[in-house]
Amino acid sequence: MTAFMTRRKSLFVAATAALALSLSACGGSTPGTSNPSVAEKPTFAANSTMAKLSSAGTIKIGTKYDQPLFGQVGLDGKPVGFDVEMGKLIAAKLGIAADKIEWSETVSANREPFIEQGKVDLVIATYTINDKRKQVVSFAGPYYEAGQALMVNKDNDSIKKPEDVKGKKVCSVTGSTPAGTIVDKYGAVLVPAATYSACLEPLRNKQVEAVTTDNVILAGFVDKEPDAFKLASDQTFTKEPYGIGLKKDDTEFRNWINDQLEAFSKDGSYKKAWEATAGTVIKTAPELPAINRY
């Protein structure tokens, strides 16, 4: 018993040492990130949110950490993706450098509360604009319009359109908007998973017929394993306008962000942000959707 104990202990010590060693080794940088040029001493109306953030020199942005190509955390703990690039562009216009942004992970259940409590200044997190959410937060944008699609196994030709999945098993993320749509509108049987990548195994094993979420994310999976998966169709069947969430009724800030989005579209930084991230999968950059100024 005692000998056993000692062995365990030495194992533990060895493991700790190995960890400590690896802690000192440092990771490389992640591809697909950019550093937009930072505005120098921009001026804003006194007491506006922009002025406050600008003089504080830092901004808190919430994003998702598990959405490939939009907001996904890398091995170094920093998120990358199109949402993240949008955040960096906006921060730059406030005179805040990319490394001064405080990123925090927002999951579906905490986006609204985080904005209401001021734990984040902005939420850029594949955040679909809808009326219920508008009652508690305000939205700038949309900055991108996603559309839901279906991904199936390469050899599956029986599913072409969303109507084909009625009564069939479809995998999506627990509590996500695409999961709700495929069940409520198209009568699929939902197989919920923790992340979209977790859906790949059941699809591969033919335990589900399809995986559903926004077309760009699915395109990313197809891009990685073109021999295993394909999109059921190039058509999308919903429109998910992604907005930038901010404190309700901060109209001044909202209008300012909207102006910036239009400026990004004109000066080409919108396109550049796309190409650095989601553009690695879908080559043609989208047009900025018409801004919804309400």
């Binding site: 018993m1 104990m5 365990r8 202990k9 194992l11 533990f12 493991a15 190995a18 960890l19 400590a20 690896s22 802690l23 080794a25 440092c26 990771g27 490389g28 950490y65 598990d66 490939p68 996904q72 955390v73 890398g74 091995l75 170094d76 703990g77 925090s104 992970e105 927002t106 999951v107 259940a109 905490n110 509360p113 409590q117 734990k119 923790a194 992340t195 990548s197 790949l200 195994e201 990685k224 394993e225």
Partner: protein, 294 residues
């Protein structure tokens, strides 16, 4: 090896048991080998998939995750234990208006899912993720600690308390100095088991996006791609099992050291199956042949 549960096996029984054991072992080893072969055929053990563990940033992320897991568990345990002790005393109070409300509170805390408590703390009080995770763990585990200690106190012979009161201790003093110390020692295995549960429950922090070990693992599997899912999860399982077994062993060691110092404990006649390490109470050890006697 003997036990009071059965007679010493004769030569025939020993032979049958030996044959059975050999067959059983062969079957299990064969099954494990088949599992390994099947997985190997699917390329799970290809060097390419395991090469990620030569990367510094992978270990760095695992190390950070492990640190987050251990720190949340340690802080939660240190806070939960004294609180549990306190509530245990209130729960067995002789005064009904203390005892009954305490019971209601404990019943509630025990019945609430930890994930929900973490979410409530995060959303309701706008705390940091660490605080939310720790508070959720504390609220649940203090209830369990209180229940374990109460069971321990109630399993003591009545004479202990009576003797305490006879020599002029107050009811509270008797609880504190006579009953609790014995109850803690007696319930040590359950307390340690709960400690391991607490450590594992830190993984529920995913719900508030707390970056503990399992979350780090999922993030990594997501980021690196599906091909690395299996290696990463196998390593994670190994880390968890190693740490939890360490915790259990360290606790057993501390317990044994403690009981050597303590005067002969109180031990009602117990069935010793000869399997629970060395006897913790000398009395029982003397009655029943332990593992160390042939």
């Amino acid at each position: 090896m003997t036990s009071v549960l059965y007679d010493v096996p004769g030569p025939k029984a020993r032979r049958i048991s030996l044959i059975g054991s050999v067959i059983g072992t062969v079957v299990i080893v064969g099954l494990l080998a088949w599992i390994a072969m099947t997985l190997a055929q699917q390329g799970i053990f290809e060097g390419r998939r395991w090469a990620i563990f030569t990367r510094g940033d992978v270990w760095m992320l695992l190390g950070n995750g492990l640190g987050a897991t251990l720190s949340a568990a340690a802080v939660a345990a240190v806070i939960a234990f004294p609180l549990g002790l306190m509530l245990c005393l209130l729960r067995i109070s002789l005064v009904a208006w203390i005892r009954i409300p305490t019971r209601v509170v404990l019943e509630f805390l025990r019945g609430m899912p930890v994930v929900l408590m973490m979410l409530f703390v995060l959303l309701g009080f706008g705390t940091s993720q660490f605080v939310a995770v720790v508070t959720g763990l504390v609220l649940y585990n203090l209830a369990i600690f209180a229940e374990i200690l109460r069971a321990g106190i109630q399993s003591l012979p009545k004479g202990q308390r009576e003797a305490g009161l006879t020599i002029g201790l107050t009811s509270f003093q008797s609880r504190m100095f006579i009953e609790l110390p014995q109850a803690i020692r007696r319930m040590m295995p359950s307390l340690v088991a709960q400690l391991v549960v607490l450590l594992k429950d830190t993984s529920l922090g995913y719900i508030v996006a707390y970056g503990e070990l399992l979350r780090a693992v999922q993030v990594m599997a997501d980021f690196l791609g599906n091909a690395f899912l299996f290696p990463i999860f196998f390593v994670a399982a190994a880390i968890y099992i190693a740490i939890n077994i360490c915790v259990s062993r360290i606790a057993v060691w501390i317990e044994r050291r403690g009981s050597k110092k303590a005067a002969g404990g109180v031990a009602p006649a117990m069935i010793r199956t000869g399997l629970e390490g060395a006897g913790n109470d000398p009395v029982a050890k003397n009655i029943v042949p332990g593992p160390d006697k042939k």
